[in-house]
Symmetry: C2
Subunit: 472 residues, 2 copies
């Protein structure tokens, strides 16, 4: 336990540095060494930035220094974006200066050739001797919304603060996929750790840190290979008792494994074995790239379900059939509704329809109006003790069926059961509903199965947790 | 063969009626009998509309008649939206008048109760005796863009004309899912046939008609149960030699089958058996609801691949790994590039990167600029004889990587290989690219696997076709 505490305090500098040296800082807007500082400013970073550049007086308003060593006072974190062959010297400067945390954004190391691998070995040696923790090299690095901080050199807008954290053997989550999240989604992110070549800080360190992090409720990972699979699984097993880990493993097929080898030199390993090990450790295995967004959104916004019994509220019989198929094939149970709930549904519906789950709400909508039918129907289900979660598909069509969605937000505050929403009808109304609901904590998915997949991941995690508790 | 020709000419009235009686026409905008005529007008219907309503003089500018029998001259199609108990009388009027095609939109028949089933039996009897073909009852019915025609009573905008046709045991595709297609997608639709209770025209009739229809290139179906599975499979087998059929079967699980029973009284049957029969008939089995949109889009816009060898152009190594995994698990082969193509890729890239498929285009983008790198890279792949299709993920980020996408449209005209696009980065740039490319024939998908799934469906169809040809 002492080790964990130590490690957590060591890694803190990556997420909440009081000051940061940017080595390779540049006045030229197109350069990485400019963007990284501009990004920090856009994130609202409050610490001191020390641009390091032998030829500049200042960068973006911050006084520049010729070397790390010339910076006055203690430097907590250095972000290095100079060419690979210069990084070794910079590392020596950092060691002398007593810097204890470094993010190396530069590429050109073990991912490229023998010479790069040698440079990387030298960096590791210096780091070990001086007790420097290194993220990278070859990484866009860190995003930390609680620290208003980022080390990415990819143009980044301010990231919404929230409880989802990413650990990835790719820069995507601090670059273009983060752009997708900030422009297409409304859930918040806490930390991103792009591991790069993992010459020091690796997956296991990252999840250990995030496991202790009160700002992280769910951890999503993209993994190609492990530096130390045994240690990772050991840490993962501990962390998932506290919070869910969702992992997408790259290199599950022969073609994927070959691609992973040329991407990160990772040996993918036999996927069946890796998959079994992850499952045993309680890690939720994602199958698709956007699962890392879709699942994370549900976990970070909604409470966990007590079990896997789901009630489905659908605007069409066919959508009921299809979501029931999806839920059952994903391991969810289409809940057998209580008599009380069935009675309430029958009371709001025309006499000719026999209510069951999935609930075809459109008959009730003819009598109650669309909004009232959804409200009364969803309420009956959220109050049914046989129901652990509700998935509702709203039919939103301009001039035909629009709703004031406040009732969903009110139910979300009132009931402690996960509620996931999908929308059919007009795309622009889907987008509007997504913004309104997600910014206030209710996840919204495009039609039709993504919501079922996300809920199934939550139920899988709960199954794991109850098994663990039973074993204790 | 004579039978097919006869059937096709019989069903023509549903899609290209020279005139149409709307029984239950209404002056009240919220009523089905009003919306159905308003929809016809929005679709640009050029034929004569005869509103039938004993109490109205005119509806939406058309002179109204008290009964079908009072309409002067021949009536080609009747759309009936009066209450169930009145439909029998209307059918008798239609029989007397010599109407040979009827769409019954009204519900309240076999889907509701015994009394409804009896009414439906009477309708069938009248139709058989008078030689009337019936679509429905309990259906939003028909959309036909080549006929500028629709029978749906759900508010509908003008539908873009194209080559994708839908046959569904649900009204969704002439109602809210059509709204989704018209507001979120840019591919065109040819015909929609909502089968409803299938008291006469069924799945087999529908695909037989669409099989002969020069306006239909691909048929997408939602099926809960068959009236006559043997006949359907027989017809399907014949049709898929000419054009692909994609089918989503509802009721694949116990929960789904139960829901299907209460939705359309369909006995879902053992899904493994149904699935095997569909596969044997050459039908592509969709797994998710939006597959019916995503697959159909690719089939209707792009040429078929000659084989299953795909080249992947990706802006990140991780996305290369993930799409390679997706492609291989879906039965596609990640193409082994020819020496010539590899050389061309190497020539445009920095020396340190070793090119292979998936192609990490970002290295080349550093030298060539983003647009040029994609253009040269995709061109090399489209000209590689080892490549049957290209999936490219564009990274589009405001102020960082935007492109003039004309080169994609030019390549689309020049090369006869399917090209499917996905986008990572900024959502609004994804939306803009989707509009620009899809309206001109190149399908665009959200990140990341949907494009692989659509291409895999195309390759599956080609495999089936070549097997058939080999057997002939």
């Amino acid at each position: 336990m002492r080790m964990i505490v130590e490690m957590v305090s060591e890694l803190k500098a990556f997420f909440h540095p009081e000051n940061v040296a940017v080595v390779g800082a540049s006045k030229t807007p197109s350069k990485a060494g400019h963007t990284v500082i501009a990004n920090m400013l856009r994130m609202g970073y409050q610490g001191i930035v020390y641009p390091v550049n032998p030829k500049a007086e200042e960068v973006l308003g911050f006084k520049a220094y010729r070397t790390v060593k010339e910076i006055p006072g203690k430097v907590e974190l250095a972000v290095i974006v100079v060419p690979a062959q210069v990084v070794v010297d910079v590392m020596r400067d950092c060691a002398e200066k007593g810097v204890r945390a470094v993010v190396i954004g530069s590429g050109g190391f073990s991912e490229v050739d023998e010479r790069g691998a040698e440079l990387q070995d030298e960096i590791i040696k210096i780091a070990h001797e001086a007790g420097i923790r290194v993220v990278g090299p070859n990484t866009s690095g860190i995003v930390s919304t609680p620290g208003n901080f980022t080390t990415t050199f990819f143009p980044q807008e301010k990231v919404r603060r929230g409880y989802a954290s990413y650990v990835a053997q790719t820069g995507n989550f601090a670059t273009h996929t983060m752009r997708w999240i900030t422009t297409a989604e409304y859930f918040g992110v806490s930390r991103v750790i792009g591991l790069g070549n993992k010459c020091d800080v690796d997956d296991a360190d990252a999840i250990e840190y995030l496991g202790e992090d009160p700002e992280t409720k769910v951890i999503a990972m993209y993994i190609e290979g492990f530096k130390n699979a045994r240690r990772f699984l050991e840490v993962a097993r501990r962390v998932v008792r506290k919070k869910p880990i969702i992992a997408l493993k790259g290199g599950r097929t022969v073609a994927g494994a070959q691609a992973a080898r040329s991407h990160t030199a990772s040996l993918a390993g036999d996927y069946a074995i890796v998959d079994a090990a992850l499952r045993q450790a309680g890690v939720i295995r994602a199958k698709k790239y956007m699962d890392l967004v879709n699942f994370t959104k549900a976990f970070s916004l909604q409470p966990l379900p007590k079990g896997n019994r789901v009630a489905l509220v659908m605007p069409s019989g066919a959508m009921g059939v299809i979501t029931a198929d999806a839920c059952e094939s994903l391991g969810l149970e289409v809940a057998k509704l209580s008599k009380g709930a069935l009675q309430r549904l029958t009371d709001i519906s025309p006499t000719w329809i026999r209510m069951s789950n999935p609930v075809d709400i459109w008959a009730a909508a003819q009598i109650q109006g669309v909004e009232k039918a959804y409200e009364l129907g969803m309420e009956a289900l959220l109050e049914d003790e046989n129901v652990d979660a509700v998935i509702a598909t709203l039919m939103l069509v301009e001039g035909h069926s629009t709703m004031d969605l406040k009732f969903i937000l009110e139910m979300n505050r009132k009931y402690n059961k996960p509620m996931l929403i999908t929308v059919t009808g007009d795309k622009q109304l889907f987008e509007a509903a997504k913004e309104e609901l997600e910014t206030q904590g209710v996840p919204v998915y495009p039609p039709l199965e993504a919501a079922c997949e996300a809920l199934a991941a939550m139920a899988e995690y709960m199954r794991f947790r109850s098994r663990e508790t039973a074993n204790e």
